[in-house]
């Protein structure tokens, strides 16, 4: 292995820093755990509320904030039973309950049509269910955070070249250049392109795993989610 990819030892592992949700709760670190959950789940919850309850942008934002505020206050993780469902499912169901309660409460105070029901025009043709959208947004957010982590890590280690190549190839939306073309463009041998990409992908996998570890109950759920995530 060349020196560029050898940092950190033969497997280039960084030690896992994230505790699972159950570990965090047991160690009395619920608020830190909640922060991680919010970082990952804010957008998915928002999108879910918009689609499922047909809220407009402002109302959906308010409801999302309200949900997480309430979750922070109550012992959100206490009622979570990993044996019954994944954390993702548990959270989504909690959102549904929360939104339903809010709707009922608002109706009790109704002063004649408070609740706005605007058609969610910019969502486009609803080809997927709110639940599917929730999961999809969750995947997006998971990778988004992991990519941020990767970029930060590359900046820290001085591996901008690696990230640059990774961005050029794996993050390319349009047609991808070949390895040979990339090699020419960046003035490095083709084998380096292969190695750098392999390293970057490996690191991305690490970061995704860490983000996931911090928002699942434990090893078993992590395994199940990992299997679902990777194609």
């Amino acid at each position: 292995m060349d020196s560029d990819t050898a940092i950190g030892g033969p497997h280039d592992h960084f030690p896992s820093t994230q505790a699972s949700l159950l570990e965090a709760t047991a160690a009395g670190l619920s608020s830190e755990a909640m922060e991680r959950v919010i970082a990952l789940y804010w957008k998915p919850v928002y999108r879910f509320i918009r689609l499922k309850f047909r809220k407009n942008n402002e109302d959906a934002k308010d409801l999302t904030q309200g949900f997480f505020a309430a979750a922070l206050q109550r012992d959100f993780f206490a009622r979570f039973d990993p044996a019954k469902a994944s954390f993702r499912t548990y959270l989504r169901m909690a959102v549904e309950r929360f939104a339903a309660n809010e709707y009922a409460a608002a109706n009790r105070q109704k002063r004649g049509g408070d609740i706005q029901f605007e058609p969610v025009g910019d969502q486009g043709a609803a080809t997927e269910s709110p639940e599917e959208a929730f999961e999809r947004e969750w995947q997006h957010q998971l990778f988004s955070l992991a990519l941020d982590d990767l970029r930060a890590h590359c900046d820290d280690c001085g591996k901008q070249m690696q990230f640059c190549l990774f961005e050029a190839y794996d993050l390319a939306d349009a047609e991808r250049l070949s390895y040979a073309e990339l090699a020419v463009r960046h003035g490095i041998p083709e084998t380096s392109v292969t190695n750098y990409l392999a390293w970057a992908r490996r690191m991305l996998r690490e970061f995704v795993t860490e983000r996931l570890r911090g928002t699942t109950s434990g090893a078993r759920e992590l395994r199940v989610e990992m299997r679902r995530l990777w194609m």
Partner: protein, 275 residues
Amino acid sequence: MDVSDSVLDHLRHVGALPDLTGTRYELESEIGRGGMGVVYAARDRQLDRRVALKVLDFALAGEAQLIAHLEHPAIVPIYESGTLADGRPFYAMKLVSGARLDRYLAEQPTLAECLRVIRRVGEALAFAHSHGIIHRDLKPQNVMVGPFGEVYVMDWGVDAVAGTPAFRAPDDRLDQRSDIFALGALLQFLLYAPAPPALRAIVAKAMSAVPAARYPDVPALLADIERFELGLAIEAWSEPLWHKLRRFCSRNAVLLWLVVAYTLVKFLLFFLRNF
């Protein structure tokens, strides 16, 4: 950092591929997915041959340690085990070409061929049992039949988690008798209806809900199958008299025809002489 749907799917795909840097293998293609991981075809650069690489999702007390020291024609030889650069355990084993048992059935093998496959699987099981190893997840997807009739039993020692309930014994213990249950289920899987009552009886005995009622070990089951193939009485079934007679007649057909011929000749000569 947001990405589009297509990039997300691309990342999900490349993130799943095994990172083979630092190994002597070159990834070729994905062959299949099992309960615990994915199997790829790869090329061993050093020895210039194709191998199968099984990459496990996570490190579990896996099959490699269990069966690497077992040498048997029906157990896939393990060449190497190790850890990938991304931390996932893998092992390299012989690349077996052929059809999994569920696809082998599509070729409509004869009863004799099916029993031969069962016998090979049973021999591998008996061998493993004698070394204290239980398969625990025997099912058609874990048996391969090669182009020359070679039979391989794979995916040893993996706990049938979500597994295939049809092949899992109702009792929770995972020991030799649960393997015997699965072998019986495998035999049932291969039989077309209508199956000979003797074979159905063997299946029923192997698959009894009560473990103690099953065959005590795999060789006993195989012996009953062999007795069936030879036209002898089997242990699993107390057959009705007419079936015993039918069996006797088919086993001793030549002799019975000769005796019939003798009697006919005698009668013929007698009547010719007198009438």
